[in-house]
């Protein structure tokens, strides 16, 4: 519990930092006044149009990525099995870009298509890896292959895209909080308010699934229904978050292992994982904005942070025999 409180505090202070910092640093009082409706020359634009959407999208998307990633990792009993590594996210993105470019759709229709793409990809990978013994390593290899194919398909779509559709399509390819608008936020917020409680409640069952298929059945958990509901709510959260910020590299993958380290293995960690995701995205955005002479979008920073951790995790898994 104390971990959750500390993480919440970290998230709140990072949110505050994003609101205060920028080309001009505003005092907390000034920011508060702007948020409560007062008009201050300069500050109103910077705070309401630039920083508020940035902060909210980072918070919500980070939370969604973290929680969904942790769900997949626990369900498949493998820290490498996060949706951004096994191709589920690529499935969503391919579907979204297809609808954008080939069908000329936009908005919610595209997001729903992304959900469908993610669900179909998950089902495909899961069915292929089912035959014989349920094996983590095989599932990940299959996922990597599926991801390679989907990425090839995305490259093809982008090449076919009319010039004016390309910026909209790129939203689905690289993660950034730049250019998020306040009007994009409510939809994402509603999705997260609906689906995080579902994920957290079903997460209890997930702990039992973690004990293994047989004991879960013995304890009266409907394994297939739990799995399907969890995959649905994770994929929906990811799809809508991606529609807002683009895929932010490695956040889904990193949040679960970090939060389970913080709360201790075996403890329920969907909520902490969501908070860790939000911390990662907000922190990486601050680093990207202010640490270097060039401004980097948040996805590049999380990519650089995530890469060494991926290697480290692999080394540890091999040493303990987790991968084979």
């Amino acid at each position: 519990m104390s971990v959750t409180l500390i993480l919440t505090a970290a998230v709140l202070s990072l949110c505050t930092a994003i609101m205060l910092l920028g080309n001009t640093v505003y005092s907390p009082a000034a920011v508060w006044k702007v948020l409560t409706g007062e008009n201050i020359k300069g500050a109103t634009f910077a705070v309401r149009t630039l920083r508020l959407p940035r902060m909210l999208s980072g918070l919500l998307a980070g939370f969604a990525f973290g929680m969904a990633g942790s769900t997949f990792q626990t369900m498949l009993r493998n820290p490498l099995a996060s949706p951004d590594i096994i191709g589920v996210t690529a499935g969503s993105n391919a579907a979204a870009i297809f609808l954008l470019i080939m069908m000329n759709l936009s908005g919610t229709a595209v997001s729903l298509g992304a959900v469908l793409g993610g669900v179909l990809t998950s089902a495909f990978i899961y069915l292929l890896s089912r035959g014989g013994k349920f094996e983590g390593g095989r599932l990940i290899l299959i996922g990597l292959g599926v991801q390679a194919m989907l990425n090839a398909f995305i490259s093809y779509l982008l090449l076919r895209a009319p010039q004016h559709d390309v910026p909209a399509a790129y939203r689905w390819l690289s993660g950034s909080l730049n250019g998020v608008q306040l009007s994009d936020i409510p939809m994402l917020a509603i999705i997260i308010i609906i689906f995080s409680p579902i994920t957290i409640l079903l997460g209890k069952h997930l702990r039992i699934l973690e004990l293994g298929e047989n004991s879960a059945v013995t304890l009266g958990v409907n394994t297939d229904r739990t799995r399907i509901l969890l995959i649905l709510s994770a994929v929906i959260s990811i799809a809508f978050a991606t529609a807002t910020t683009g895929p932010i590299a490695f956040v889904s993958f990193l949040s679960g292992p970090i939060s389970s380290k913080l709360v201790g293995a075996g403890t329920q960690n969907e909520l902490p994982a969501g908070l860790v995701g939000a911390v990662l995205v907000l922190l990486a955005d601050l680093i990207g904005q202010f640490a270097f002479s060039t401004k980097f979008p948040v996805g590049v920073i999380t990519g650089i942070l995530g890469a060494p951790y991926l290697i480290f995790l692999l080394i540890r898994m091999n040493k303990t025999g987790g991968a084979s």
């Binding site: 290899l141 299959i142 194919m149 025999g321």
Partner: protein
């Protein structure tokens, strides 16, 4: 059918297909050329009309796609043989991405420009990545099992390509023409860089042919091979070096082209059996065919632009990876 007949027929069919691909590669693209113009330009050396000039411009690219495919095919066959791993391949093991990362770092930070400098950095990157991935993959119980190696390679590849993106992104205007450092393409080939990589490729080809009988012995198991008088350690090291040189040199010119080395040796093994003395040269033939065909397909699919050949080979080769993973039952992988 006797083994030698099978090899002969496969070879003849492949060579006919390669000839068709060469013609296609010279004739097709954003400006297609008539057969008449193609023959004029190729055999009569004419360079008068626009079409004839187009053909001449496409010659280096076609030559490079042939030798690059051959090199990648052999490189994959070598890596599969020495690691006894059905999914070993320069792209699955991350070696191509490592080579690409080093070249991109060289361009961004060291301001390198010549083909020779590209090649040195690419080989360095390929070698370091190969050692690194093999090191991670062989940690823990059971040594370098196929699945641990493949996971180590794919994860390393994912990690390294996020560094490539990070380096390229703030330089997007300079790097726009260099998109092939993320997904490989043979479009950038010219005579200068073909000449630069050719000696390395010839050395790699020769080593792989000479090593084939030794690899056959090693397929029986390390102990059996030792009994037959093979120094398995030395043989592995030489084979790995040749494999890394072959794919590193190609990556220096074309960027990371994936999955050629994965699918071609598999198809050849399926068709012609496990004899490395046949697999090595036939993987070269098959690789040349696949990559040239992929390049043509990329130009047709992408018309009026073009789809990188690495995108096409990924789309063709990834299913092979999936099939191998699906078919393997647990421990056999």
């Amino acid at each position: 059918m006797r083994q030698s007949e099978k090899v002969f027929i496969t070879l003849i069919i492949s060579l006919i297909c390669i000839l068709l691909c060469i013609a296609g590669s010279l004739a097709l693209g954003s400006r297609s050329v008539s057969p008449g113009e193609l023959i004029d330009a190729l055999f009569l050396g004419k360079a008068g009309t626009f079409g004839q000039i187009v053909v001449r411009e496409r010659i280096p690219r076609t030559v490079f796609s042939l030798i690059a495919g051959a090199a990648l095919g052999i490189s994959g066959a070598l890596m599969q043989a020495i690691t006894r791993n059905p999914i070993a391949d320069p792209s699955v093991l991350g070696v191509n991405t490592g080579a690409s990362l080093f070249v991109v770092m060289g361009i961004a930070f060291l301001n390198i420009q010549t083909a020779g400098q590209y090649i040195v950095l690419a080989l360095l990157g390929a070698a370091i990545t190969a050692v690194f991935v093999y090191g991670i993959g062989s940690l823990g119980a059971g040594g370098a099992t196929p699945i641990k190696l493949a996971l180590a390679g794919s994860a390393t590849s994912a990690a390294l390509s996020s560094f490539v993106s990070a380096i390229m992104l703030p330089r997007s205007n300079v790097m726009d023409n260099f998109r092939f450092w993320q997904v490989g393409s043979v479009s950038g080939a010219n005579w200068t860089n073909i000449r630069a990589v050719l000696p390395l490729l010839i050395i790699g080809f020769l080593i792989s042919i000479l090593l084939a009988p030794v690899l056959n012995a090693m397929a029986l198991g390390d102990e059996m091979a030792s009994v037959l008088g093979v120094h398995t350690g030395i043989a592995r090291a030489i084979g790995a070096l040749a494999g890394v040189v072959l794919c590193g040199a190609i990556t220096a010119v074309a960027g990371p082209i994936g999955f050629v080395g994965l699918m071609v040796p598999h198809v050849m093994r399926l068709l012609l059996g496990p004899d490395q003395r046949i697999i090595m040269p036939m993987s070269a033939v098959g690789g040349a065919l696949i990559l040239t065909a992929a390049d043509i397909a990329g130009r047709i699919l992408g018309n009026p632009g073009e789809l990188e050949s690495g995108v096409v080979t990924a789309f063709l080769g990834a299913p092979v990876l999936i099939i191998i993973a699906v078919k393997s039952k647990g421990s056999s992988l």
